[in-house]
Amino acid sequence: MLKDEKRVESITLSGRESGRLANPDIRDEFGLETLDMNMGPQHPAMHGLLRLILELDGETVVRCDPVMGYLHRCQEKIAENRMYPAVIPLTDRLDYFANMHNEHGYVLAVEDLLDVEIPPRAEYIRVLMCELMRLASHIPSLGFLMLELGAFTPILYCFRERERIQTIFEAVTGARMMFHYIRIGGVKADLPPDIPQKIWDYIEGLEQRFQSDFVDLIQGNEIFISRTRGVGTMSQEKALEMGLTGPPLRCTGVDFDIRRDYPYSIYPELEFDVITDQAGDVEASYRVRIAEALQSIRLIKQCLEKMPEGEVMGDLGRRLRPAEGDGFGRVESPRGEFSVHVVSDGSDTPYRVHYRDPSFCNMQLLQEVIPGHYLPDIMPIMGLIDPVSGGWDK
């Protein structure tokens, strides 16, 4: 049994004293109280295993409290007990819609400790794969948003594209989702000889289909506009205060992209625009994602054109023992800033690995933005943030 004071402390800490009992003044004019409701973790429309404790006044939400941990695997602890290269396949399981970005972030952090030189061809292949991954994440996220609004057709188009990108990944890495492709010092293997042409053909085709399948089908739709315009609106101050990054921040108009402002890999050599929008609502985040997917297509074309010949793996020892110190890696994942902090103590396993996952940080927005909205607006707002359960639960 817990000691009494500990139990009292834990009840206070779990927030049961907040909400309805703490705020009796949210009763309406008829003296009716609010209703507590659980949404998830097993909810057919929920993005993964998330539980929202909602307090409803009629159909309006007055308090929203996200509860996480249903998919927690304590990856940071597991990583402390594995050798440096053996952590890479674990990072694939973090945000499973941005596996390449997770690998890239972790590998950049370890390379920061090691100070190795990466062959230029490997850098180009990394960026090529990351941008394909961004396409394979942004396009389905539009489909999920539409699915939550009750439209089933767009997700079929979106998953057709994701399926084809996964086929490319399968040819390059041997796996469809859990790649283990980006390694410390380079990448696992060179591209198969026919793959650059296949990627080029696919990207050309996607560019032609893009307008009709993802813009014309969705953007002018009356139901889409009425469900998303003005929903989840936030100011730039609020977005920065809540630590948002990625499309949710850029849809408010803050011009920030890790690829341009904290450049890594070969991004300084490539041309692309940072997409912003002013409205800061769900519709704006949709427009930002659409335009970013087009920028990814542009980046993929540049990578294929400029890709140099040569080795794809740097010269490293078999057993990595980085010097004592801190290594940082920071990449722009489709959801925002993915940072890794690796602490080394000079042995062959990391002393501490910390992931800053964009899904986790962006979800703080739910507490701030959902109160005041109707219950059915929660799902479009989840589509604005587009969190992934493996990401926020580590």
Binding site: K77, G243, F360
Partner: protein, 163 residues
């Protein structure tokens, strides 16, 4: 209303951050390395230093908070970005087995969940935090902090008092 982000040359901006920290808090050990300003402070001064960063120097974004268990002491890293290429890394060391530090949620509201996570994983108590409860682990009857080095992963953990 639009937010103004810092402008101008990166090096002069980093020097101005360094001067700001030195003038206000006398942190003589701070240095500029590449695009990073490294600041080491005593745990009691963390809110003051971060308030300087946010209010006076205009660094808007707290990226993350990392806690490192050094077995006997705890390191806490705060990573601040000015969103235009500059990084400020504030590092502090808390002595003792039961770490307590002041919260920074009133300066950077995004620290809320980062501090909750640190409390959950390491048992670091953030004084003045509005809502300090566990993020990932069970709210009740679970009395462990999994990322402590004293927590061995092969041991089976029990839920005290729960049937």
């Amino acid at each position: 209303m639009a937010v103004t982000l810092p402008e101008g040359d990166l090096q002069t901006r980093l020097e101005s951050y360094l001067d700001g920290f030195k003038n206000r808090h006398g942190l003589e050990e701070s240095v500029v390395e590449g695009n990073v300003v490294r600041v080491a402070v005593e745990p009691g001064f963390v809110p003051a230093v971060l308030a300087t960063a946010r209010e006076a120097l205009g660094i808007m974004h707290l990226a993350f908070i990392t806690v490192v268990d050094r077995m006997g002491s705890f390191e806490v890293h705060y990573e601040l970005l000015d969103l235009r290429g500059g990084i400020v890394r504030v590092k502090t060391t808390i002595q003792g087995e039961e770490p307590v530090i002041d919260t920074v949620t009133n300066i950077y509201p995004t620290a809320n969940w980062h501090e909750r996570e640190a409390y959950d994983m390491f048992g670091v108590a953030f004084k003045g935090h509005p809502d300090l409860r566990r993020t990932y682990m069970w709210q009740d009857h679970f009395d462990h902090h999994p990322l402590l080095k004293s927590f061995e992963i092969s041991t089976r953990r029990t839920f005290e008092g729960l049937r």
